[in-house]
Structure formats: C-alpha cells, structure tokens
Amino acid sequence: MQPTQAPNDALVSIRDLSYSWGQRKIFDGVSLDIPRGKVTAIMGPSGTGKTTLLKLIGGQLRPDRGTIHYAGKNIHALSMDELYELRKEMGMLFQSGALLTDINVYDNVAFPLREHTGLPESMIRSLVLMKLEAVGLRGARNLMPSELSGGMARRVALARAIALDPSMLMYDEPFTGQDPISMGVLVKLIHDLNKELGLTSIVVSHDVKETMEIADHVCIISAGKVVGQGSKEQIADSDSTWIRQFIDGAPDGPVPFHYPAEDYRVDLIGRIDLNQRH
C-alpha cells in the first residue's frame, strides 16, 4: 500500500529503511510517512521492532540502509550537535517512564528546563506546575519515582516530555500493563495534548482498541515490512486477512499459533529411519 499523505504534509518521512540486530533483520525496506499534526499509530505484534523504529527516528540507532527525514532534515546525516538540537523538538515517552530515580517528581519535570533554558527558578517552578497540572499530578510533586504507580510514572514522564514544548511526541507502548482507569486517563491525555498543543504524535502499541480510539492514521508493521497503512477507517475495514487477524485478535490465521518447528510427532518420538532397523 502506498502512503496516503503527500510527502510535504509529512513531518517524518521514512524511506526504504532497513535495520538488522545481529543476524536478525528487523526492518526490510520500510517506507512510511508521519503526517503533521495528527496521531499516527504504529501497530504490530510484539517483537516487530516498533520501539526500534522510535529509536531510529530519535537518532539513537543508525539504519543499515534508507533515510529518515524530520521536517526535511536527514536525521542520520546530522552532526552530534545538530542532532541534540533537533531532539529538543522531540519528546519521547519510554515504556518504563525512564524517570531519574534519585530525584523527585518536581525535579524530574524541571530537569530538561534546567538543562536547556537557563530560566530563573521562579519561572521554572511555574512551568513545572503547569506541566504537572496538565497530567493531573500537581499534588504529587514531592513524591519520589519509587512511590509512584506505573500509570502515574508514565504521566510524570509525559509531563517531562512536554516540558520543552516539543513539536512531536513519541509514545512507546503507553498502554501496556495499565489498569483500565490509568489506560483511560492516558488515552484522554494523549488525545487532548495532541489537540491542544498542536503536536504530531506517534503511538507505538499493540493495544488495538485504545490505539484505534485516538489514532488518525494507522500503520501496521509485521516481519520487517509495512503490511497496512491508511486512515483509521481504512484499516478497520481492511479486507487483508492478516490485518483482520491482528485487529480482531484471532489466535490463529495468517500468523500461525505455532512458532516454526519440526513435525510434532518426529519431535516427540525421534526420527525413525526404516533402513537402519534390523
């Protein structure tokens, strides 16, 4: 399937991307566009390298082949200084939150501001409280990361990710391992932040229901290739058996239930070579 957006609408455009980890090919000629100002969901089974894709976009990993352009700039052709400058425009929400564990919530959110802005402490305080208010955790500012639940840690990480007012936010599996209430809170936050701050969001997930709720544009990756790309409605109505299996969560289908293995009977009783029997 061809990308549905014209490239000049795309904030991030990925062309012919290949990346291997050791012997394993994770991406094999992936091309896709992340449209500006929308929520793009990248979905696929576990282990298809969705997190790797975010790290490639953030310039933390280098592709074997292909290019990633962010707002017209080839990320992997930038110098280290230019790359760090560019990352100020990107926020990333790690699955674990990646909060600094030896400072409290307030200082975690203040961290990027203190590192980059040189603002006076009084102004940093106002900014931190605004960001924490946006995620509903202004009252939790004095807690340490170890005192937070998983969902709260992710919300603090989100407040920290928007501290520098980025133009793009990347979410790595934001819903995994969350209880229904936290999940609902995160779905609402991602949706509202994207709308109110005019962000471009990339949500990497395999939680189909929640992701489809907030996504404008969906891209499905499997076995190193893009298997489906389009608007939420196009994907939901897709007649590809593979996409159907993924969206409906069917246990067996084009993606087999069994990991490739040799024949079950042979595996259990061993191969019997008739010529060798006496």
């Binding site: 933390q60 990352r87 990333m92 790690f94 990646a98 564990t101 520098l164």
Partner: protein, 259 residues
Amino acid sequence: MVTLFQKLGQETLKGVGKLGRAMVFITHALTGAADLIRRPGLLVAQLYSIGVLSVLLIAISGLFVGMVLALQGFNVLSDFGAEESLGVMVAASLVRELGPVVTALLFAGRAGSALTAEIGLMKATEQLSGMEMMAVDPVKRIIAPRLFAGTLSMPLLAALFTAVGVLGGYFVGVGLLGVDQGPFWSQMQSQIDFWDDSVNGFIKSIVFGAVVTGIAVFEGYDAIPTAEGVSRATTRSVVYSAFAILGSDFVLTALMFGD
C-alpha cells in the same frame, strides 16, 4: 584446531573492539570538561559521593596498615639494632608504594564498583537513553563529572592514607615498642625526598585514580542492561581495576625508581 584459532581471533577482535569503544568513550567524556567549568556544582556533588564518603574507609585502613608495618619492621630492624630507622621504613613504604596502591585497590572496591553499578542500572532503566532523548548528552552530564571527581579524589585519599599510616606507625613504634621518637621523625625527615618520593607517589595516585574511574564508568556504560549484565560489569570493574593498578604500578615504579 581451526575452531581454536577462530575462537582466539574472535576473542582478540572483541577485546580490541572493546578497547576502541573505551577510548572513544573516554575522549567523549573528556570533552565534557567545558560543561563542568560552567557548572561546578555537578563536580562538587560527585567529589562528595566519590571522595568524601570514602574518607573513613581510607583513614581506618591507613591506620592499620601503618601499625602493621611498624610491628613487622620493628622485628626485622631490631635484629640489626636499627630500630631508629623504623620511621624511614614506614614512611618510605607508604609514600612510594602502599599509599597509592592500597588506596587505589580500596577505592576500586568502594567507589569504582558503586560507579559501575549506578551507571549500569541507569542504563538498564533507560535513564541514559531518556536523557539522550531530552537532548542531554549523558556522557557529558553523568559520566564526565564522575570521571573527573574520581581522578581528583584519588591523590587526596592516597595522601590521607599515607599520613594516617605514618601516625599509626608512630603509635606502634614509639608508643608501644619504645622506639626513640627523635630519630623516628628526624631520620624520616632527612631520608624521604620531596621530589623522588612524595611527588612520584602523587603521580602514581593520579594515574591510578584516572585508570580506576575510567574502567568503572566505562564498564557501567558498556554493561548489558540486565540484572546479570550489571552484576558482571561490576565484577569486571573491580577485577580489571586491580590488574590495571598493579600492572601500571610496576611500569611506573620501573620508570621512577628503576635507575
């Protein structure tokens, strides 16, 4: 046979690769010096946790090493009626060798292992990766202050170890064994040379500090980000530090006192 050679080659390549990574990494960390001049607070915080918190361990160890040196030295020297040289013997051993070397070994166990575990865990919990995505270079922000703090702390700790060791030798030699304290101090003063002994010992301790801290931060940064990976990295950090200290001590001693 072929597989043996293959394995040998693989291991060599792996070792050379790691050495290369370490050099690139340390060079990168050294460029963080500029940021430390702008923000000395980062360095001070690390000087506290790496240096100041090691003071008690180093002082107590120094005291005991000095006391043992005096006891052993007295037994040998008294056979030759040379108890008065006890002060020189204690001071020379401490200033030239035991001060820098034992301090460095203790430092590797106390501060080096802690650095490796801290940085390894920060990597395992994606804190370093998270910093990169916040456009903060973790090598400059996290590694550089620790590297400089370790290198600066070591010579001071070694000096403390030596000073307390001499005092320990004095308590045992003069206080317990009845050596005359006049020659104890005066011979020490006349025999220990500032340049040949003190400065050479000082240079050793700076080298050991840089080597131990460099190994510790690199092993942490290069650790496999799992519980087992961090535990192995911490072990490697202490083992490699011990080898590096003793090996470079031989080389430095040969260069300084060889002729």
